[in-house]
Subunit: 290 residues, 2 copies
């Protein structure tokens, strides 16, 4: 199939390569040549603008950094919308604001272009191995058309509702992850302050109800003070901004998510945006040494 | 082996029965006859005081409601300490305050009686099926002597450190569980406020990094508004009291645990102590409707 792919970053690059390896024809465009180059080397065709990419493809994926970039690439000057064929589909796999997604879908619908929001969870490893979790919002029949491509990119693919629902579920995902991470960090601090080996604590908890992937993976990073990213603080910060904005818009009080957001903001203020998001352990330690 | 067992409540009863079924001779005592009766029916021998129980046994287990009860049963008038043979072992499997545990262990040491703190996780089901997680504090050689009995009661048995370390790890366990539960509750609220089906949200999250036993079990209870206990709010409230007291004693700031503690307290104030602890969803909903 002829597929457009815009956003060959840490996540997007291995995703696009997986589509190429599955035999699809990829058309791409990027602001910087060096991000696009590995796709061209793998056989993708470079285009001069997002509009030209859209004109060449039945389905276009976007995997960019934030809501503003999605709006720019889709609706901006020379954006996908200006080249997209009626009946074609734009699939935004970035994590962006649900309200913006709904607005973009409405704009596209005026040109008879379909949209899905399909943010992912599972990180760089999931992107490379094609094991991402994909949370999809949009019309059911459009979801079915794109599903074979999602199955190349991920494993747990759930159609969660109408336009924006995918982004809402991604926001929910970040809420659960943030609070679980905070719980693990506070447990490690509590063990240490009691003179109890936090590694033994983690081992004991892993056998019971308190277990989670976060305890396994991020708990170990915290114990080893190994904050090499992984999922960067600055991206977590961006995601929690989307969560809290959405919570305020919808009058959903999220006291726990708000608390963790403040801790992540304190990491940004300390210049630690490039660390792994499990560095909220550091924020808690600072709180403890005040 | 001749074993003392005091505290045949919801958790203690199936645990004592598992020891009886494994062929051990159980000696017991209880304030109320009806709690002890099922053990007597199963072949246990009733005694007139905890001291008499201790005099008959090599190892005595306690599984009582709170720190005060542990102190009473072990050190109180006619308590275990007054009958315990030198070299015997008292194993407190209740969830109680680490500081009290350390104090009791010191008192017992004066009489040459050993102590282990060995709180559990896994609930009534784990107690019945002999699949509890057991977090053990105390001396390593004493742990080794009791281990074969722990293996009748549980599956994930970890010696985590010296006296009190078991209780500290149980406190850590409650911190992680509380915050994960809060995260799941906030995610469900966020989905609902956005008009997204929270059941679809949970399904999508269960495939990825946000998954946990709490999301599976308590998340479902929250979705179904089925707050039949399970692990009761009033017990969770008691445990979080132990956590926060210990955190203050040790100058460990636990902002997340503190937040969830306040929500659990609000459930107690609303007369909802008998509900399952996943009812923190109700506390969040009330916050949301204010």
């Amino acid at each position: 199939m002829k597929i457009g792919f815009i956003g060959a970053g840490i996540m997007g690059r291995p995703m696009a390569l997986n589509l190429i390896n599955a035999g699809h024809e990829i058309y791409t465009w990027g602001r910087r040549f060096d991000t696009v180059e590995p796709l061209l080397v793998a056989g993708a065709t470079g285009k001069g603008t997002p509009a030209e990419v859209a004109a060449s493809a039945e389905i276009c994926f976007t995997m960019v950094a934030n809501t503003t970039d999605v709006e720019q690439v889709v609706l901006g000057e020379r954006g996908l919308v200006h080249g997209a064929n009626p009946g074609s589909i734009i699939v935004d796999m970035s994590t962006s604001a649900p309200s913006a997604t709904r607005r973009i879908a409405q704009e596209l619908a005026k040109r008879r272009v379909h949209m899905l929001d399909a943010p992912v969870s599972g990180g760089q490893v999931g992107a490379s191995q094609g094991t991402l979790s994909i949370m999809v919002g949009g019309e059911a029949d459009i979801f079915e058309r794109v599903k074979p491509l999602f199955e190349i990119l991920g494993k747990n693919i759930v159609h969660v509702g109408d336009h924006g629902a995918g982004q809402v579920v991604k926001a929910c995902n970040q809420v659960v992850i943030s609070l679980t991470m905070e719980g693990v960090a506070e447990a490690i601090l509590l063990a240490r302050k009691n003179g109890v080996d936090p590694a033994k604590m983690r081992e004991a908890l892993m056998g019971g109800y308190a277990n989670s992937k976060i305890l396994e993976v991020h708990g170990l990073k915290m114990l080893e003070e190994n904050y090499k990213a992984g999922f960067k603080v600055k991206l977590h910060h961006k995601d929690m901004g989307i969560v809290m904005d959405n919570a305020h818009e919808n009058k959903a009080p999220l006291p726990g998510a708000e608390l963790v957001s403040r801790q992540i903001t304190s990491l940004m203020e300390a210049g630690e945006g490039e660390l792994d998001s499990s560095a909220i352990m550091k924020a808690l330690e600072r709180l403890s040494s005040q």
